[in-house]
Each structure stands twice: as C-alpha cells, then as structure tokens.
C-alpha cells in the first residue's frame, strides 16, 4: 500500500500526456478547416469595395501569403507561447481578448453545472427510489422534456416571463453599465465582489447570473437525472445491497450509502462527458442573454473570419474539455481506489 500515492501521481502524469495528442489533433483540424474554407479574411475585413492591391497588401501583412506549413508552424508557436497570435480584427494578442470573456464563460458554466448537478441528483435519486411509480414516470418525463426544449427558446421564454412581464430579473449582460464591476482578481464577479467585501456588488452579479445559469443548468439536468437513475437502479440490484437490506439496514441508508455511493463513479464520468454539452449550451445561453463570454465572441469572430481569434477560442475550449476530463478521472481514482491504469 506504500506505493499508492506514487501510483496516483503516475496515473495523473500518464493521463496528462495522453491528453496532449487530442488537443493537438483538434488544433490541427481547426487550422486545416479554416484554410480550406472559401472566403478570404482580408476581403472580409475590408468589405466588398476594396481594390485587389489593397486586399493583397493586407494579406501580405496578415501572413496569409506564406506557405501553409509556415503558417501552421507560426500558429503552433503562438499557441505554445500562450498568446495565440495577433487578432486580425483587433490587432492585439488573442489571449488578451479571450481572458476576460473566458472568466465570464467559466462563471456561467460553473453555476449552470452546479444547478444541473443539484437538480439531476435529486430527481435521479428520487425516481430511482420510486421506480415504476407515478413519480418515476414524472421524473422520466422531466428528463425527456428538459432535453427536448431548445435552450435558446426556454431562454427567450424565461426572459419574457421573469424579465419583461414580472420584471424581477435582468435579461441581458453580466453587470449593469452604471455600476463599476468588482476589481479583477479571479475574473469571476461573484468571487471578486466578495474579496472586495462588497456584498451589494455580489448580489447584483448574482441577480444577473440567475436566469442564464438556471436555464443552462435545467437544460442539462434532465440527462443527469436519467444517468443517476439508471446507475442507481443497477447498483441497487447488486448482491451487497440485497445483503444490506436482509440485515435490516434502513431503506434510506441503503439507497444513499450503498446505492448512490457506488453509482457515483459512472455518474461522475458521465458528468464529465456532459461538460462538452454544457459548453455547447453556453454558446446559445450567452447569445440569448447577451452574456459577454467566450462562446458568443466565437460566433462574432467566425463571421469576420478572424482566424487567430477562432483558433485561440477553439484551443481554449479543447483545453477546458481536456482539463475537466482529467479532473474527473482523478476524482474517480480518489472515490474508487481500484481505478488505476
């Protein structure tokens, strides 16, 4: 048992090394996609009326006339340096453009994830304990419906109801324009305002966060609920659960201690996989609620063919997904000591 902590460290290192080729493949894929695309960033930037010479000069400036391999090498160097190159549109390092928006996205996605986990776990455990009953059926219907409603559509409906009709909550943005946002420590407004000791700013930030994160969370929670239910039912049929029941252990204790705990490893794994879905949902949520995040920024930069920005954002997304999957694997290795590769 003495080498246990050592093997966990090894496991983490191997896991990190395995992630690198994945990120690299995505980087390359996006690079290739953007180069084979019809449409030229230079003419897209200058509009339809620019002369060929002006366009040509701009292409030269942007390095678009270099051989494709030279461009690829430069791109990889930019990524390794960490600034992702200079944005065509804004003429500043892409990382500077991304940084603030990344924290906005992280704040939204984290809160959405928490909402989804809370709802998903409760609905899932609740229906698993009442399998075959009307509550189970309702939980199942919730799962299907929350998946079937397009996220932007319930977003709009919620804006109309809570924002416009009832007037309870703001419908767009991250912070009111007239109030100075909290000083940047982490970039997350909720945490920064607390660090500053300003409860009023915290509440304002929270108010802006409620609708988008609830909508995002609810949209994902149905899938969570069904996974939790399925996995709990599977573990509840295991011999040790039957044995625990036979010993007269209370049903509630059986369900939580034996059922939920052992269902946790597959559930945590699937939560990790759903993180990608959550990011996809964030694109729609951010656009619907004018949230100044990374995803809505990507949509605008794509329309302008700002290659360095698009590449930078996609890289950050790929790193986020990879990071989450590593964290999930580590959590699983901690929950269940048998997991080692």
């Amino acid at each position: 048992m003495g080498r246990k902590s050592g093997s966990l460290l090894n496991y983490i290192i191997v896991r990190l090394l395995l992630t690198l080729p994945m990120v690299f493949i995505l980087l390359t894929l996006v690079f290739v996609l953007l180069r084979v695309a019809p449409g030229d960033p230079a003419s897209a930037m200058l509009g339809g009326h620019a002369s060929t010479e002006v366009i040509e000069e701009l292409r030269e400036q942007m390095g678009l006339n270099d051989p494709i391999l030279v461009q690829y090498g430069r791109y990889l160097a930019d990524v390794c340096r960490g600034d992702f190159g200079i944005s065509f549109r804004f003429k500043v390092p892409v990382w500077d453009l991304i940084r603030n928006r990344l924290s906005a996205t992280l704040e939204l996605v984290t809160c959405g994830f928490i909402v989804a986990v809370i709802i998903g776990l409760s609905v899932g455990v609740f229906s698993a304990n009442r399998r075959g009953k009307i509550w189970d059926f309702l939980g199942d219907s919730y799962g299907i419906l929350s998946y079937a409603f397009p996220i932007f559509w319930i977003g709009i409906m919620a804006q109309l109801l809570f924002g416009v009709y009832l007037g309870w909550l703001p419908t767009s943005g991250r912070f009111p324009g007239v109030v100075i946002p909290p000083a940047t420590h982490t970039g997350l407004f909720l945490i920064d305002s607390l660090l500053e000791g300003r409860l009023d700013k915290f509440l304002v930030a929270l108010k802006y966060l409620v609708l988008p994160s609830l909508i995002l969370g609810i949209a994902i929670s149905g899938i969570f609920a069904r996974m939790v239910r399925t996995n709990m039912l599977q573990t509840l049929k295991a011999d040790y659960v039957v044995a625990a029941r036979a010993r007269g252990v209370k049903e509630r204790w059986v369900s939580l201690r034996h059922g939920l705990r052992n269902a946790l490893v597959p559930v945590v794994t699937m939560l990790g996989l759903q993180f990608a879905v959550l990011l996809g949902g964030a694109v729609l949520t951010e656009t619907t609620f004018s949230w100044p995040g990374l995803a809505s920024f990507l949509v605008q930069r794509l329309l302008e063919r700002d290659y360095p920005s698009v590449q930078g954002i996609v890289t950050v997304f790929a790193l986020m997904v990879a990071g989450v999957s590593i964290v999930i694997d580590i959590i699983n290795a901690l929950i269940d000591p048998r997991i080692r590769y």
């Binding site: 894929l29 299907i144 409603f149 397009p150 109309l160 729609l284």
Partner: protein, 295 residues
C-alpha cells in the same frame, strides 16, 4: 434480414402494451405525423412560405392566418409546415452522411486494427470530446449557408458516434466462430466485412439513428438561431424563433408577438420528444439485457 424483421415484429407485438411499447407507438405516431406534414406541405400550406407580405405584418392568429404572420408578413402557418420539410431533409442528409462515413471507417478500423485503427480512434475521440454545437458552428461558418452545408456541419458531430459503435461491435464479432470459419475458408477481408460482420453490426445502428435524429434537430435549431447553416427566407423553426427574438429585443415590443416564437418552438419540442420516445422504446426492445438491468 427477413428473419430479423419478423423477430423484431414479434418482440414489438408482445411489448405493445408495456411502457416501451407505448413509447414506440407515441414516438412513431409523432414522427410519422411530421413526415406526412413534410410530404404534403404544398397541399397543406395556404400560402408560399417564402413570399413576403402575404398578409399584414404581425397579425394575430385567425381563420386566414392560422398561426399569425411575422414582421415581414410571412404566413407563419405555411412556414411552420414547410419548416418540417427543411428539418427532416437536413436530418436525413446529415444522418446518411454520418452513417456512410462512420460505419465503413468503424468496420475497417475494428477489423484491420494496427496503426490505422489507433490513428482513427485518436482522431474520432478528439472530435467526439469536443463540444458538438461549437464544432458544428465552426464547420457551418466555414462552409457557408445552404441545406447541404448545414447537413455536413451537423453530420460531422455524429460520425464519431457511428464509428465508435461500429468499431467496438466489430472487435467483438471479429473473433466469433463463424467469422473464424469464413477466414479459414479463404474469404477475402472485404467479403468477411461485408457478408459476415456488417449484417451483425448493422443491428445496433437503428437505435443510434433515431436518438441522433433528435439531437441533430437540436443542433440544427441552435445553428440557425446563431445565424449559421440555414439563412432566411428558408422556412425553418429555429430561424423563425431567431428572427422573432431579434425583432423583440430591437423594438421591445414583447408580448404582442408571442405566436412568432411560441409556435415554432413547440414544433421543435414535439418532434424531438417523438424521436426520443421512439429511440428509447426501440432501445428497450432491441437490447433486452440492458432493460433488465434498469427496471
């Protein structure tokens, strides 16, 4: 194949009054209804869905304009009906593309193994791990708008899924006795894949197909809401919602145009529920072991 069909049918008949059977019946009814609407669209629509100003702008639903009109005077009823066509066409194309690429690659990768398998798995896993919608957006933006382009953008998301399922199934079938026998008799690799492995693998495809169709519609709706893939005046629900939303945020004239967002939204929701119920019902019946462990 006939035997398979008969077996499926027998299973269906005995399951008709269980929950799975009910799911299939409801799901299938919804999907068939949408298909009928799509086919009969020219007969059912009173107006040309892409024609401006067939009515006054922003009319509330009444007997002439059943679902009201939009800001540009499009008839929303006709647009909703024709939207069914757009949705089903693109989903059909996208699924076809995904199956035609994902399944053969999965068969080859699983059967041949080696470095080709390793590289393909790595690429597919990378694509699979990346957020679906974001990938689709990038591809749709790169390709530009159009029905086929939208279908390609949506299909890329699903190729890895068909690839994974096919490859894993191939790996397990490859070592079965009947494949072994065929190999011993000197059948070529292509023959073995086509005649012995594919028929067995193909059984797992219908379920993913239905479940993916639901997802594809969501992806497509998301794409068009963000302004990629399909562009106006093409009738599509996601597009109508997006236009209504833009109008609402610009004019702040919110509650007066409820029908413009609500109706296309319900069109999406009901179809997705249909596909989901159908897919899950099929899954329950075609994979009984899985169901046993879940009930």
């Amino acid at each position: 194949m006939g035997g398979d069909l008969r077996r499926t049918w027998a299973a269906l008949r005995s399951e008709l009054f269980t929950i799975s059977g009910l799911r299939i019946v409801i799901g299938l009814t919804i999907v068939v209804f949408y298909v009928l609407v799509a086919v009969l669209a020219p007969v059912l629509s009173p107006f040309d869905p892409e024609k401006l100003g067939v009515g006054e702008m922003l009319q509330t639903p009444d007997s002439t304009y059943h679902f009201g009109t939009t800001y540009l005077g499009y008839d929303l009823y006709s647009r909703t009906i024709y939207g069914t066509r757009t949705a089903l066409e693109i989903v059909l194309m996208a699924t076809l593309i995904a199956v035609l690429i994902g399944v053969p690659l999965g068969l080859i990768s699983g059967y041949l193994g080696g470095w080709l398998d390793r590289i393909l798995v790595l690429i597919m896993d990378s694509v699979y791990s990346f957020p679906d919608l974001i990938l689709a957006i990038v591809i749709a933006a790169v390709l530009g708008s159009g029905l086929l382009n939208a279908a390609v953008a949506v299909s890329v998301v699903y190729i890895p899924q068909y690839f994974r399922v096919t490859r894993n199934h191939t790996l397990s079938v490859r070592e079965e006795t009947f494949v072994e026998a065929a190999r011993a008799l000197g059948a070529s690799k292509l023959d073995i894949i086509r005649r012995y492995i594919f028929p067995s693998v193909s059984q797992s495809i219908p379920v993913i197909l239905t479940v993916n169709s639901a997802d594809a519609i969501l992806t497509l709706a998301g794409l068009s809401f963000l302004g990629f893939g399909i562009t106006p005046p093409k009738p599509f629900w996601g597009l109508d919602i997006s236009e209504a939303w833009r109008y609402m945020t610009m004019t702040r004239d919110y509650p007066q145009v409820w029908w413009w967002t609500a109706i296309p939204g319900f069109a999406i929701v009901i179809l997705i529920v249909g596909f989901t119920l159908l897919g899950e019902g099929l899954n329950d019946i075609l994979n009984p072991q899985l169901r046993e462990s879940q009930r």
